[in-house]
Symmetry: C2
Subunit: 164 residues, 2 copies
DNA sequence: CACAATTCAATTGCGCACAACCAATCAAGG
DNA sequence: CCTTGATTGGTTGTGCGCAATTGAATTGTG
């Protein structure tokens, strides 16, 4: 039928149109929320041996590739701000995995660099991706496709949140 | 293609296969992480008028459908434990949206029920799903498909995390 | 050189997620 | 009756995510 005007009975019958919107919304937000936490749970198990949390692992991944970069750049890679990164990096520093030091060129900037110990951790982390991919029970093609869909979704959501 | 950054083989062997695994893993975890937070950001904007956070909205969704249920059942619906729910429910109670009271039948159980104010909030929340779905820039079919894929993924991840 | 605007990181405060532990309650067995 | 065990919420501690503020350093301009 044509979309019922907002005359949705509050509690009586179940108006198929409006109710479906609400339920669909609930399912998609439930699903994404649950998937995100499920992923976090798997990473928690896999990363326990390395003594890293999931976001800490993300930080180390970037540092392993980039080698050294200021907090600002690090935050751009991960889409995290200093409010999240500052205490996280302090914990990584306390664990002896990274060093933080003020840039000589720009005293405002703090440069993060993996220590020898942090760099060596990379080898032990090499096995992580395989275990994660295995846990998804998906093949590479499906993962790639899902990733692409999520990236498209993220861009749309960011754009929508931006303009309000 | 292959914009391989100056990631010199740190330890000697840098088999392209391994490197690809690591990068693919990074992309899927980045993507899911980013999508989850992007969703959260949109919900933050949309729910600001209602004075609800995203998890609080999830709780109210369940209560609007179920009407009244113990914390245990609520946690099963949302896959959240009391460590998360207890303070959250206290905040909802402080906002006058729910009441918590011990069950007469079983003194161990605490039953949560929306207040009149909390029930009335449902009507103002009716518009939320449409705005969220619009923000995704996807049609219903695509959302349904993505949700199903995420649910499958979540089940696989939960199973993998379980057995270790 | 002096001053204002900008940039950047740190800090603070609030809320969520989860693990570990604790307290109260109910049920079953002696 | 009392004890044991299981169930159910609560509490505490750690860490992430984000908004808002602060403060220092750099850059731009006269």
């Amino acid at each position: 039928m044509t979309p019922t005007p907002a005359s949705a009975p509050a509690t009586g019958t179940a108006p198929s149109g409006e109710e479906n919107w609400l339920r669909l919304d609930r399912q998609i937000c439930f699903s994404l929320h649950a998937a995100s936490r499920a992923f976090n749970g798997v990473y928690r198990v896999v990363l326990k041996d390395l003594g890293l949390t999931y976001p800490q692992y993300l930080v180390m991944l970037v540092l392993w590739e980039e080698g050294e970069l200021p907090v600002k750049k690090l935050g751009e890679h991960l889409r995290l701000d200093s409010g999240t990164l500052s205490p996280l990096l302090k914990r990584l520093e306390a664990a002896g995995l990274v060093v933080r030091e003020r840039s000589a060129r720009d005293e405002r900037s703090v440069v993060v660099r993996p220590t020898r110990e942090g760099a060596e951790l990379r080898e032990r982390a090499e096995q992580v991706p395989r275990r994660i991919v295995a846990a998804t029970d998906l093949d590479v093609e499906e993962i790639r496709d899902l990733r692409d869909r999520l990236d498209v979704l993220t861009r749309a959501l960011d754009a929508a949140a931006e303009e309000r």
